[in-house]
Structure formats: C-alpha cells, structure tokens
C-alpha cells in the first residue's frame, strides 16, 4: 500500500519466559509505517501493543525476546542488530515517549541535564553548546521560560509539563520515528489535548513518522492516519483511520467501538450486541425527569489544609506563598436526591476527591454541613464515623480495584468485611450465604469467591469492590472513578452493572470522574468543579449539549472526537 515504508515489521513474534513456560505476547504480526505517517496501535490490556513497541526499540526486559520476524527500519534490520549499533539508533533515529511522564524522568536530575545527556550521547553537541541546545529543545516543546525550567527537577513540574519534557528528550536528536506509548493516560483531558496537539504538530513540522499506542479509540481517531487493532498478540484489523471507525470489519473492533462511551449513546449501547440483557431498561435515564427528595444535602462545605511544613510538598506548592491555609474545597453546596445519580467532574486538583472523601466521612470538613437524610453528619467526627450507624448507609467504591482490596483477603472475606462490622443478616442466613447472594447480584461467579485478589481479573476485582459496597444495602454510594483502571469493554459491563444495581436496590450515587462521557451516561445531574468551586451544575444532557461555563466548554472540546458511530 505504501511504496517504501520507513518501517516494515514482518512476522514479528515476541516471547516471554515465565515460571509457567513460554508465553507468546506478540504473534507473527505485520505493521508498516510510512514516511510522515501516524499509525495508531489500539487494543486493550494484554493485547501486546506495548510489547510490540518495546521489541521495536529492543528494550524488552530480561524475560522477553524476539523469537522470529524482521523489523526493517529505513533499510536496517533492527531485529538482529548488535546492541551497540542499536544504542546509536535509540534516541537518534527512533525515540519513545511514555505513559506516566513524571516517573519516566530521573527524579533527582535536572531536566536540562537529562536532555543534555541524550544530546551528548549522540555527539550532536560539545560541552559548550549543550546547555543552549537543551534550552532550545525545551523551547521547542513550548515550555515557557525554558532557561529557568532547565534547572527544574521533575517533581517541581506538573504532569503535562513533565510530558513536554519527555517529548523534548525524545525529539532532541530529531529522530525519524517517534513511538508514543499511552502518552496521555493519567493526564487531564485539556492537558491531553495540549500534549497530543503538540506531538502531532511537531511530528508534522519535521516530517516524522509516529506510532501512537493507545487504548483510547477517540484519541486514535483524532490523531492517526492509520489504525492497527490488536487483540491478544494478534493484529486483527488494519485500516485507514476514517474507514475503520465507519466500517469496522473485525468483530473485536466493533466490540471496542461499541464499548467506547460517546455522545448520543445509551448505557446499554456499550455492551456487545450478543450480550444485551433480556430486559433492557428503557428507563435508564428517565428518573431525571421526576423530582427527587434529597438524601444528601451539602451546604457551604469547606476543606482547608494548613500550609504548615508538615503538609505534603505538593499541597504547599499549590497553596502559594502566603501563610493562609490552602482551600481544597471552597464553600460548595449541592444535593443528591433519593435514587438519583449525580456526577462530580473536574480535572485533577479541582477538589472532587476531597469532596467525596468528606461526604464519605473519611476526612473531616473544615466547615459547612453535610446533611444526610436530615442529620448533619459533620457533627460526627470522621474518626468515630466507622462506629456510627450512618457508616452502613454511606459506602464507597474506590478507584483502583487492586489497591482497594486487602491482598490477604479472599473475595468472600472482602465482601463479608462490612457484614462482620454491621451484622445485618436475615434470620437463618449465614455470612457465607449472604456473600454468595451478593456475588450473584454483581455477577461474580461463585467459584471465584475463595480466590485472592491477585488471582482475579480487573473486572472481577471491580465486582468484588461493588459487592462489598452494597453488602449493607446503603442508601448512598460514592463511586470514585470506579472504572478508570479498567479496559473499555470491562468498563461497559461494570457501568451497566452499577446502573442495574441502582435501580434494583434504590440507591443514590455520587459518581466522581474525570470522564465526561462516562458521567453523562451514568448520571442524571452533573456538577462541574474547578479550583475547589462548582462552576456549573445541572441536568447531564443539558450540560453536555449546551455547556454554559467556558470551563465546561473547554472540557468538552478537549475530549478527542470519538469514532463516529455507525
């Protein structure tokens, strides 16, 4: 299709030696990247998309090896190139930028010196020009005041800024091919847009080719020329970015596309065609029309953190120079109706997590009221709240399903945990029976109940977390980014499960998320926060269609255009 591709991967197979024998992570795949072309490799976790890029850079870890195949990069065979020659190509001809930019930079070396290291390694500069070249590289990625930033350490910069530095590092030697491995995962949407726009602008300007590795179809659609879809180590489909999203041929591509939240779709639409539940609930977003009696009323809620030395470095940085305490949440008021889902959205540092922690009564508010079913909960200190009967009525599902489960508890023990604290069993029912019933409710197979978290998949762990939260039949569940760590297809299932449970059990949700599409699907009403304040709240559909505040508008505009639905 392309006359002389810059990169031609043929029959590439990558194997990993594990304790249980050899695992083939990438199975005889072919990928071409033309000059000046951007190719997106999309797929869910375990699809082998990152392994492919590591194999290309020849930075697979000790256990991995290229079993067969060839990788021809501008006439050079990378698969069998000696390490010393390969090292000369890395960073000079082929560069890579990574997920989690802050961790990708040496924490104790000035960023300017890190860029100089690369420039000097490839002998592009002498000692005298190095600093000037490094500052130039920083200026090229649109970092303001590059002379000052040259002396900064990574911890002094924001996540988006760190990613710019990583890009500067990767592009310092003007490589021909840039591999971006989930470059914006974990960054805010507006930052994501800025970073991706920068990458595509810089690569276009220098006529570079690039490979964008992502799980986000929207991102691939917005920035790539061609899309390669990978599943379990295989390339299942390769096509033009425009055509692949309009007419996806492979079933897996269709499944991925369906599972991606997008405007104008319903929650049920996310599920694969063949598994749509027999009783679809057309009332999914209906209850918003009726008036809800409030179960939670938050008034003038304020959380201040002292700017003392003991406070974390990050917080004190945010607080500015004055001695005044830093206000993470600044006098916000909202309410959640009985049976209602309210979304709390905003970018990192906007105070949404602090708010959810206060409502869950895990931390104390500085001032304000949290009225739950007529009682002011701020009167009960967070320390004693665990013993209060209200604890049973307000529960939480945490962000990371892995980190929020005790690794030494089986699934059954984790689900039973709240039941052991607040025994609420029906007569004649054992805890085990209750656990099994809960597992049934969240769709967790009963034979998994005696497994430990590391023996469960991400989706299964999320189900355990949800079963634990509904064990006491609470009135209100605070969901803190419950699907942020999950693949889209799993996310689709978990979101639907949450929606069904809500209707079955008559609970209310406070749904904290950075993903406006997900919140739009799940919630009746939306609250948009920035800098500890509520900038806009109202009906989800209205806000998503006609955002009034400019910040909400910016948030919505920054979401990469998701693939057009068929």
């Amino acid at each position: 299709m392309i006359p002389s591709p810059l990169l031609a991967i043929r029959n590439l197979t990558v194997e990993f030696a594990t304790r249980r024998g050899t695992v083939t992570a990438v199975k005889a795949i072919d990928i071409d990247v033309g000059k000046g072309e951007t190719v997106a490799i999309v797929g869910e976790s375990g699809s082998g998309k990152s392994v492919t890029s590591y194999a290309l850079m020849r930075i697979l870890d000790r256990a991995g090896r290229i079993a067969s195949g060839s990788m021809i990069f501008s006439g050079l065979e990378l698969a069998r190139m000696p390490e010393t020659e390969m090292r000369n190509l890395r960073g000079r001809e082929l560069s890579m930028i990574f997920q989690n930019p802050r961790a990708a930079l040496n924490p104790i070396r000035k960023i300017g010196h890190q860029i100089e290291d690369v420039l000097r390694q490839h002998a592009l500069v002498g000692a005298t020009q190095a600093q000037q070249k490094a500052i130039e590289a920083l200026a090229n990625v649109r970092i303001a005041r590059p002379e000052e930033r040259y002396h900064a350490y990574p911890f002094e910069l924001s996540g988006g800024m760190c990613q710019r530095v990583v890009i500067a590092l990767a592009l310092a030697c003007r490589p021909q091919l840039l591999i971006a491995d989930e470059p914006t995962t974990g960054l805010d949407v507006t930052t994501q847009k800025a970073v991706m726009d920068l990458v595509s602008e810089l690569t276009r300007e220098r006529a570079m080719s690039s490979i964008l590795i992502t799980h986000d179809l929207g991102l691939a659609a917005a920035y790539a020329d061609r899309v390669v879809v990978m599943e379990k180590g295989d390339v299942v489909e390769t096509a033009d970015a425009n055509t692949i999203f309009r007419t996806p041929l492979h079933a897996y591509t269709r499944k991925l596309m369906r599972a991606t939240p997008r405007p104008g779709c319903q929650l049920r639409d996310l599920l694969p065609e063949e598994t749509i539940s027999p009783v679809p609930s057309p009332v999914a977003n209906q209850p918003s029309k009726q008036q809800h009696a409030p179960i939670l009323r938050v008034e003038n809620l304020i959380k201040e953190y002292p700017k003392a030395k003991s406070a974390g470095g990050l917080l004190s940085l945010l607080g500015g120079k004055s001695e005044e305490p830093f206000r993470a949440v600044n006098a916000i008021s909202f309410c959640v109706g009985r049976g209602e889902s309210v979304g709390l959205v905003g970018e990192s540092g906007c105070g949404k997590s602090t708010t959810s922690l206060m409502v869950t009564r895990l931390i104390d508010a500085t001032s304000g009221r949290i009225e739950f079913d007529g009682t002011d909960l701020t009167q009960i200190p967070a320390r004693q709240f665990a013993a209060s009967p209200f604890r049973a009525r307000i529960q939480m599902v945490f962000q990371d399903p892995t980190d929020s489960l005790n690794p030494r508890f089986t699934a059954a023990r984790a689900i039973a945990d709240p039941l052991l604290r607040f025994p609420r069993l029906k007569p004649g029912e054992s805890i085990r029976q209750r656990c099994e019933k809960l597992a049934g409710q969240v769709g967790l197979p009963l034979d998994l109940l005696d497994r430990f978290p590391h023996q469960l998949s991400g989706g299964q762990k999320a189900r355990v977390g949800i079963a634990r939260a509904i064990a006491l039949e609470p009135d209100l569940i605070i969901l803190d980014e419950p699907t942020a760590a999950l693949d889209v297809s799993v996310q689709a299932i978990v979101l639907n499960l949450l929606q069904d449970l809500k209707q079955k059990l008559g609970m209310s949700y406070l749904f904290v998320s950075h993903d406006l599409h997900v919140v739009g699907l799940m919630c009746d009403r939306l609250i948009v926060m920035r800098g500890g304040e509520i900038v806009e709240q109202g009906n989800s559909a209205d806000i998503l269609a006609n955002p009034r505040h400019e910040y909400t508008q910016a948030l919505i505009a920054a979401i990469p255009a998701p693939p057009a639905s068929r």
């Binding site: 890579m96 990574f98 930079l105 690369v118 470095g313």
Partner: protein
C-alpha cells in the same frame, strides 16, 4: 540549611534527656556494689561504707542524679575508678581509635560491597550474583572474633606479613603529636612516614575483619535497591534514549539507589562503633567498646554513663549527617527545609 540543622538538633534534645535518665537508672539497678568492688575482698564493712560515702553512693537517688546532671552541664562526666582518669579524657583518647578502625572497616566494606551489589543487580541471576550472595552470607555467618583470629593466624603467625596484633602502633615507635586522634592523619601531619606505615599495618587486619562483617548488609541493600531502580520507568527512558549502559547504571540508577544504601551505612557504622568489642579485644585495640565493657564488669558507673551518652550524641550527629547527605542526593528532600 542552618535552620534545618538547628531544627533537627532541637528535636533530638528529648531523646538525649531520655538517654541520660535511662542510663543513670540502669547503672544503679545493675547488680554489683562499686564500693565493695573497690575496697577489695578483705576490706572491713567500715571501709566499704567510707568509700561509699566518698563516692556519694549513700545519698538518695534523686540527689545523686542532680549532682550528676550538674556535673554534666559543666562537661564533667565524672571519674573512672578503674583508670583513675576523668571519663572525658578516657573517651577522648579512645573514641578516635574506635572511630578510625570502624571508619576504615566501613570504607573497605563499601569499596567491595557497592560495586559487588551493583554488579549483582545488573547481572541478576549470573555467577556474580551468586558470588555476591555467598560472600555476604559467609561474612555475617562468621563471628568477628573468629575471622579476626583466623586473619591473625594466617597473616601474622603463618605468613608473617603483618605485625603482632598489639594495639594501634608498634611499641618501639613513638606516637605523633595528637591533632585529630586518628593515627593515620596525625602521622601524616607530622610527616612521620615510618609511623604512618606502621599504623596502617596495625590497622589493616582489624579493619578487614570489620569490613567482612559489614559487607553483607551493604551488599544486599545495594543489590535490592539497584534492582528496584533498574526496573523504574526513568531507567527505561534512559535506555530508550540510547544512553550508554555506564551512564544508565552509574548516573541514572546508582544515584537513585543510594538513598536506602546511605541509611544502611549509617546504621552499620553506629552499630559497629559500639559493638566491635570483640575485634578490639582480639587486636588489643585501645577502643571505646572494650573500655565500656571493662567498666561494666567493674560496676564503674561514670565510664558507662559517659560511653552511652557519647554513643547517643554520635548517633544523633550521624543521623543528622545522613539527613544532610539525603538532601544532597535527592532534591525532593531539600524542599522540606
């Protein structure tokens, strides 16, 4: 910077006060009667009582404590009954001997352990990794007095390469004028090279003995810490930018891996300083550890209190030094100041 040091020193005052109280009480509740010990086995009860009142041991405990603290404030740690010298002078004479020995032992251990640990981590699972494990295990498994005796047996008795293990300097050589108390430095300052060589010859075996013992924690910690850092994202970035492996390991990984190693070094140093009694005994080293043990056997309160207090203060200073070193290595720590 100075404010940081000041603040750190302030926080150590309570622990120093605690050490003073606890050592005072501990030495009093220990079995053994100082007065009876010094009066000798044939002394009459009257003579013992006389000595007791001379030492102030017949006064109630609070009063004894008050006079002890009052003397302490003036920098007086009391008088050793066994040596008949002020404790401060004894300690000043013996601490440098211990410090010199421990420091040399630690430097020796570091010069072997750090490269070995780094290599073991870089070539994880290779023969060098196994060698590192064997050396480290053997090092801690052998008691120091045994390693010491073995070394003396081989290098003095059989090979005759090293001088007799009798103290810090050959008896026929005169000690250089005392400046730092470290013989290696003082002999150099005096320009006395024969004495310098003799001091090194005396030092080398006990230092190696200590070094072998402290090899294990440093090697293992270096290896573990390097392994963690080598798996970090920024090392992958450095590799992906084509940096040479020397640069990746030396500049990117090693400096980051240093933090836990520095902590371990501090712990090993302070542990060795007080605990190398056995080595000091084997090599007749006039150190502070053997001094304290002798005083303890004689129920000689003042040197024990002085020893524990000195150790506590040294420990505090060492920790301060480590914290400052931390700040030097890791810019994120500097922020807290």
């Amino acid at each position: 910077m100075l404010r940081l040091i000041g603040a750190r020193l302030l926080t150590t005052i309570p622990s120093i006060i605690g050490v003073i109280i606890v050592t005072f009480l501990l030495t009093r509740v220990l079995p053994g009667d100082t007065a009876a010990y010094f009066a000798g086995p044939t002394a009459s009860p009257k003579a013992i009582a006389e000595i007791r009142s001379k030492l102030g041991l017949d006064q109630p405990l609070p009063q004894q404590f008050a006079s002890y603290v009052a003397a302490l404030v003036k920098g007086d740690l009391g008088q050793s009954l066994t040596t008949g010298q002020p404790v401060t002078r004894d300690i000043a004479a013996r601490l440098p001997a211990s410090a010199e020995l421990t420091l040399c032992g630690l430097l020796l251990a570091m010069s072997v352990a750090l490269p070995l640990g780094v290599l073991a981590a870089v070539r994880q699972g290779s023969w060098i990794d196994h060698l590192c494990r064997i050396i480290a295990t053997a090092g801690v498994s052998l008691p120091v007095f045994f390693t010491g005796l073995l070394l003396v047996f081989v290098f003095y008795f059989i090979l005759g390469w090293s001088p007799a293990p009798l103290g810090r300097l050959d008896v026929f050589l005169s000690e250089p004028p005392r400046v730092t108390g470290f013989l290696l430095i003082d002999t150099l300052l005096a320009g006395d090279f024969p004495a310098f060589r003799a001091a090194i010859a005396q030092l080398i075996l006990p230092a190696v003995t200590l070094g072998i013992f402290s090899l294990a924690p440093i090697t293992r910690m270096t290896r573990a810490s390097m392994l963690a850092v080598l798996g970090a994202d920024f090392v992958r970035t450095a590799r992906a930018s084509g940096l040479s492996s020397g640069k990746v390991i030396g500049v990117y990984a090693f400096r980051n891996a240093m933090l836990p190693v520095v902590t371990t070094l501090g712990m090993v140093f302070s542990f060795l300083l007080g605990a190398n009694v056995l080595v000091e005994k084997v090599f007749a080293w006039p150190g502070i550890g053997s001094y304290a043990v002798e005083a303890l056997i004689a129920s000689d309160y003042a040197p024990i209190q002085g020893f524990v207090l000195t150790m506590a203060v040294m420990y505090v200073m060492l920790n301060l030094l480590i914290d400052l070193l931390y700040g030097f290595i890791d810019p994120r720590v500097r922020l807290e100041g």
